[in-house]
Structure formats: C-alpha cells, structure tokens
C-alpha cells in the first residue's frame, strides 16, 4: 500500500541504523508511549536491531489495557441486559472484568457486536429502533473525534436509542505521572504520532522544558520508528532536550483544528482511574452536560460494582516502564493472551501480549 511500504524499505532502515550507531555514545532509556508503536517495534524486531546502549521501555498508550476495571464491569452489566445491543471495538471483548468478559456475556446470549467504527454503531441504532444501542467509547485523543462524531451524527438523526459508555484518556497527564514518579527511568519520549495528528504537539514543549527531556513525534512504520529513535538519541547526546517532529507527513504543530473542535463540543476534561496505574487527575474526557442523554452511565443505573484485580499481575509497573514482562512470575504461564490476568496482556497492543506473541530473547533466557 502506498505510503506504508516505502516506510518499510530495508536499505533505508540500514541507513538510519548506521547513523544511530555512529551517534550513540551513552546508555539511554527511551519510552514509546503508544501501544501501536510497541506492537510495531516487536513485530519488526526493531528493539533487537538497536545498539545495546539504547533500551526501549513501553508506555501506557494502550486504551484497551488502561480502561478501568470499574468501567469494564459496567460494560458487562449493561451488555447483559436483554433490550441492549452492546457495540465495541474487537479488542475489548477479551478484557477481563471482575467476573467474566464481553465474550462470556455474548456466549450467555447477550447482544454484543464488534464494530470497526462508532459510526457503524449509530447505523445499528438506526436499524434497531426498539433496542438500546450502546457503544463502548474507549480510546486516546486519536479515537475521540470519531466517538464525538457518532454522538453528533446520532443527534442529527434524532436517535433516542444511542448512547456511549465513555472511557477516554489523554496522553500528556500520563507523561507527567511517569516523569514525576520517583521511580522514573525514562530519559526520552517517542510521542504517539496519531494522537499528535489530532492534537498537534504544541502542548509537549512545556513537558520537555519542565523535565528536561526530549520528545520526538513518531510514526508507526519501521523507518518512522528508527527515525524517531535517531532524533531522540541526537538530542540526548547533544544535551539539548526539546520537541521535534519525525512524522511530518501526518502531523503538524497545531494538529487538526476541526477535529479538536468536535472533541471540545462534545467532551470535557475529567479525572480518570487508569487500570494498572491508578488515579490521574484531569487525565480523560467525559460527555458535556448538554450531551448527557447520550451518556450510557446515566441512562443505565449500574450499582454495586465491586472490582477485584489479580494479586500477582505487575502490569502497573510495566505500563510505567519500571519492569519488563519476563520479570513477572505469571508471564506466559498463568497469564497468556488466551487467559490474561491483567491490563498489559489483554490487548494485542499490550506490552505483555506483544512480548508473548513475538517471543523475546529475554523470555527464553528467563525460561532456561
């Protein structure tokens, strides 16, 4: 496909790798924020191509992973109701709640449907006027415009049977939480390219200055990832931390203004609990009061949610780059993608799931 294959060119990969090898002089810890990037790094073996001085740690940018257990339990409760068609991105179906997951609700006769887009859920609501259609609106800034659009579209169609269960989280507060922690190891960030395509990257200058850390906006293909790493290493070696853009074909400093306007119209800032990490103030979005009739949490009274997490799982430390999956006693044994214990194994983009799928050497060493 055009504009994908060119950015996987093996010869150009070698060009950038040689430049990284010539540039790096000291050991550095770099975090990619986005779960999609973690997956791409593992899939293409980029972590194994890099010189030993560069350690990649994997950030909390997997919305499936960090959606709070309380919201997953609410989703299970709403999806179990007989008059509800519950629509979700496919990744969310295997996410374990305190008891069961959306697959088990579907197996027990619940109307759970996988959709590609929230706009497809609006169409299902149009086609099923006698049912309540609920969309599980998870995601970072990348997904927020599509979710906002679904509400505006349902409103323009005059639909009364469409609502969304909102679990939106935002990247900059999570970066503050990681950098402000006493156990932080991260010295440079690859900022999430598609989050920035919507929001721009002007908001990262203050983070870079406050923590004295380079932040490079990075794409998802092998050349994009290596270029992001190269630019981060150049800034680290030169001792000139600042914000740079390694994904200019998609991202501008200001971002997409019409998309930001859609988000602002429908959502407002709120506090969020991140699964595995905990409470982060003003780290997400909820529906504005004027759109509260589209709020599934208000439409369906869900009470007596008592959450229960696995005691063994160390996903919180993995999400903050403090530990690696093979340091968990349950990894690959009690905890697998088929039977995940916690946040980072549940989604294909979760760090543990990516390490499991692409069988990292460290894992083999650990098993020996």
């Amino acid at each position: 496909m055009r504009y994908l294959e060119e950015f996987r060119d093996a010869e150009l990969v070698q060009n950038i790798l040689s430049k990284i090898n010539r540039t790096v002089k000291h050991p550095w810890v770099i975090m990619e924020i986005c779960g999609g990037q973690t997956h791409s790094i593992m899939q293409h073996g980029i972590d194994q191509l890099l010189p030993a001085e560069i350690e990649l740690v994997h950030g909390p940018g997997c919305p499936v992973c960090v959606t709070s257990l309380e919201l997953v339990d609410k989703a299970l409760s709403i999806a179990s109701r007989p008059n509800v068609i519950f629509c979700s991105f496919g990744d969310m179906l295997r996410v374990p709640g305190s008891q069961g997951d959306l697959f088990s609700v579907k197996a027990a006769g619940g109307h759970v449907r996988i959709v590609y887009s929230p706009l497809d859920a609006v169409k299902i609501a149009q086609q099923n006027p006698d049912k309540e259609v609920v969309f599980f609106a998870i995601g970072f800034e990348t997904t927020a415009p599509a979710n906002a659009m679904s509400v505006l579209y349902a409103q323009s169609l005059g639909l009364r049977n469409y609502s969304i269960l909102v679990s939106h989280v935002t990247v900059p507060p999570a970066m503050h939480a990681i950098l402000g922690s006493s156990t932080n190891r991260v010295q440079g960030f690859l900022a999430a390219g598609h989050v920035c395509s919507v929001m721009g990257y002007h908001q990262y200058h203050s983070i870079s200055q406050k923590y004295n850390i380079p932040i490079v906006v990075t794409g998802f293909e092998p050349l994009d990832l290596l270029n992001g790493i190269l630019m981060t290493v150049e800034l680290l070696e030169a001792g000139t931390p600042k914000v740079q853009n390694a994904y200019s074909r998609v991202v501008s400093e200001a971002g997409n203004i019409p998309a930001q306007a859609m988000i602002k119209r429908v959502f407002q800032d709120c506090d969020r609990n991140w699964r595995g990490i905990g409470f982060i103030p003003q780290s997400g979005w909820e529906l504005r009061p004027e759109y509260s009739r589209f709020d599934a949490e208000k439409r369906f009274e869900v009470e007596n949610i008592q959450t229960r997490e696995s005691e063994i799982c160390i996903s919180g430390q993995i999400l903050q780059g403090i530990k690696k999956p093979y340091q968990c006693p349950a990894f690959g044994k009690m905890c697998t993608p088929q039977n995940p214990l916690g946040a980072t194994m549940v989604s294909s983009e979760g760090t543990c799931a990516a390490y499991y799928r692409y069988a990292r050497l460290e894992m083999e060493e650990h098993h020996e």
Binding site: L4, P145, A146, Y153, V195, P258, S347
Partner: protein, 89 residues
Amino acid sequence: MCLAVPGKIIELFTTTSMKMGKVDFGGVMREVCLEAVPESKVGDYVIVHAGFALNILSEKEAQDTLAAFRELEEAEFNLDNNEDFTTLD
C-alpha cells in the same frame, strides 16, 4: 488501537449532511467520514482511524522524508571513502 492507515479518496458524497468519502486502501474500499478534513478532495491520501479521517497526508513531506533517508546513505558512502583514503595515506 491508535493505528491509522493511509488511503486514497476515490469519491466524495454526503450522508445526513456529513461529509463522507469512498476510500481505497490498496484495493479494499471503505466508506470514511471526512468531517474533520473539510478541504479534502478526490485523489488526496487521508490517514484513517476507526472509519474517520484524522488528516490529509502530505505527499510532499513524505517524499522529502524518504529523500533525507536516502541522503544518509550517500553521506555514509562519502564518509567511508574518506576513511579509505585516510588509510591509504
């Protein structure tokens, strides 16, 4: 989850006053919401996530980036040649 894929707009249309497009992803066609890229036109490449176009891809920036990666090779070639020359000296 935040993956987004470039596709080429083949056709524009409107659904309940929402700007939409038929988009070609290497032979696979999908309907995509173009509300956030009001200036988009047939032939543009858009970056699509969950049925929603996030931005128009800048083909010039893409070509410039690839050209810069190719120049790295030339720079290295020159560097290697200089090293050889130095050794001969």
